[in-house]
Amino acid sequence: AQTVTQSQPEMSVQEAETVTLSCTYDTSENNYYLFWYKQPPSRQMILVIRQEAYKQQNATENRFSVNFQKAAKSFSLKISDSQLGDTAMYFCAFMNLPPRGMRFGAGTRLTVKP
């Protein structure tokens, strides 16, 4: 069975600085997607970034980028120029293909300090 591990329950960063959230996963499959979702206090799940396993190039979305190491089964999220609005829970998630639902990590609570 696939597992997703986020080893940092809580992190904090100063506004405008850079922070990296860690995620490792375990799977025997070769075709899958990886995601980072953000959950602010409103509880809404918001997609931050997506990575296709077959793509070697790391995904980027504005201030958010990933470091995808397929052989190491590692998928970290880097947030540059952190903003107060980035304060939230961040979940790493794995989805195989064809879709059978996502497997989530336990989450990392990120606090951006002014």
Binding site: Y33, R43, P98, G107
Partner: protein
């Protein structure tokens, strides 16, 4: 309005009662999913559906029933609610002609309390 909606947003019920949580999406996504979120566990998959009349179990299906007679609706029923089913429930949809990548989009969640 386009998107994915859940109702009710909050529900309090008693042990042993039947409860149905509703989920509706307007994107014509093929796949729909139900997750529950508990402290320390992230989100866990309860059931999913690949299309109308096709459903399958996820990681934690016991005590839940689903149906999908129409593509846009995916209700989740707790046949006899237990305190351990107190949780926040999220519905999600994904995969369709306009979303071939499979990214899942989530509803706002339903907070269910079983007394």
């Amino acid at each position: 309005d386009a998107g994915i909606t859940q109702s009710p947003r909050y529900k309090i019920t008693e042990t042993g009662r039947q409860v149905t949580l509703m989920c509706h999406q307007t994107w014509s996504h093929s796949y729909m999913f139900w997750y529950r979120q508990d402290l320390g566990h992230g989100l866990r998959l309860i059931y999913y559906s690949a299309a109308a009349d096709i459903t399958d179990k996820g990681e934690v299906p016991d005590g839940y029933v689903v149906s999908r007679s129409k593509t846009e609706n995916f209700p989740l029923t707790l046949e006899s609610a237990t305190r351990s089913q107190t949780s926040v429930y999220f519905c999600a949809s994904g995969v369709g002609k306009l979303n071939p990548s499979g990214t899942q989009y989530f509803g706002p969640g339903t907070r269910l309390t079983v007394l």
